[in-house]
Amino acid sequence: MFLFLRRSRRHLTQSELSLSADGALTGHDRQWAESHLLQCAECARSTVELRRVVNALRWMPAATPIRPFVLAPKAIARRTSRLQPRLALGMAAASLAALVAVSATDLTLRPAHNETSIPAVPAATTGPRPVATVGPAGSATEISSPATPEAPPPTALPLPQSAEAPGTLRWWPWELALASVFAVASGLALFLRRRTGSGLR
């Protein structure tokens, strides 16, 4: 009831006018539109005008092609089996999946670089920090260490030879091989797809 009252106060929408011109409204929508068109001169006029537009479009003549279609020998020669692009695409997908799996496994098994490459420095070896002191006259500033003659001078610990900088990804030859297969197969799939035509999307 509320819907009917709300509808009765409004005009037909653009979409309803179009469907009404086609006679494509059904059920309650059709009943409401028909009763509204009897009362509303504006919507009735719009519907008539839309019907005229549609009739005019349908009345347009159909042109004849300048030349009939002829299958060019080149097109016949270039016809490719539909299996080829799919095979190349499958190869690309398989090599990508293998590459991801291998890389993930490798990253999981590789020792954590942060722990091995930079060992914790013992507190005793660091020694006291240098302290800035101001001379008695306040004119000269010198930096000196407190008197700790027994402590050895701080030395930098060399990184182990096998350690890598954190965040670097080392690619093994077989990972590179998989990446190459992926690149070649995906390129081939794209090429074959383009060659067989991209009319369907």
């Binding site: 653009q14 006018l17 005229r52 042109a63 279609f69 299958l71 016949i76 067989t196």
Partner: protein, 207 residues
């Protein structure tokens, strides 16, 4: 003067299309050419209405069927007309989005009505010239529509496809097709109302 309602004699899906398609899928070139002749007029008209150029429409016709020939193996039973028109629609849209199209100076320049071959349906010369005049006015209005609205309008109101077949051709839901069509018709109505003096009497709006 009375002008009888006219619907273009477009070829409807043929009963032997399925047999021809099966032959094409086995690589029969002659069968494909026969199939192409059933639909070439529809493809050509779609491309012509979309681009406004007879020579471009001819190129699109050739590209569409060449592409269809290469992809016929992927066609599964269904509406072949919608399938082939989808390829033609994509080819037309590709052209309109391409750099070649942007080189065109104006819409008026695109409409090569002099190159178009219009069939003679045995009507009087007066009716015939009137039809061509109306077609020219409508074509100018169609070319001013946004691409997706233009496509739906041409498929449904010019080619005579129903909503479902048009939805298959544009690969969109039926609701979207209805919405685009209503906007396209509203735009056509506004355009034709402002050029009413160019229309034959029975098609004049605001009378």
């Amino acid at each position: 003067m009375s002008l009888k309602a006219y619907s273009p004699p477009m070829s409807q899906p043929q009963p032997d299309d399925d047999a021809l398609i099966q032959l094409c899928q086995r690589g029969d070139h002659a069968a494909f050419e026969q199939l192409a002749h059933h639909y070439e007029r529809q493809v050509y008209n779609l491309a012509y209405r979309m681009t406004g150029s007879a020579s471009v429409a001819q190129d699109i016709l050739q590209d569409t069927f060449t592409s269809a020939f290469r992809q016929i193996g992927r066609y599964r039973a269904g509406n072949f007309r919608a399938w082939i028109l989808r390829i033609a629609a994509n080819a037309s849209k590709d052209f309109l989005r391409s750099a070649d199209h942007r080189k065109q100076v104006s819409l008026e320049h695109l409409t090569e009505t002099t190159l178009v071959q219009w069939p003679d349906h045995g009507e009087s010369p007066e009716d015939y010239s009137l039809r061509l005049e109306l077609a020219n006015v409508l074509q100018q209005a169609i070319l001013r529509l946004p691409l997706e609205q233009r496509l739906v309008l041409v498929l449904i109101d010019v080619q005579g496809l129903d909503y479902q077949a048009a939805a298959e051709s544009v690969k969109a839901p039926v609701g979207t097709v209805k919405s685009r069509l209503s906007r396209a018709r509203a735009a056509m109505r506004v355009h034709l109302a402002s050029h009413t003096e160019l229309l034959p009497e029975q098609f004049r709006l605001n009378k």
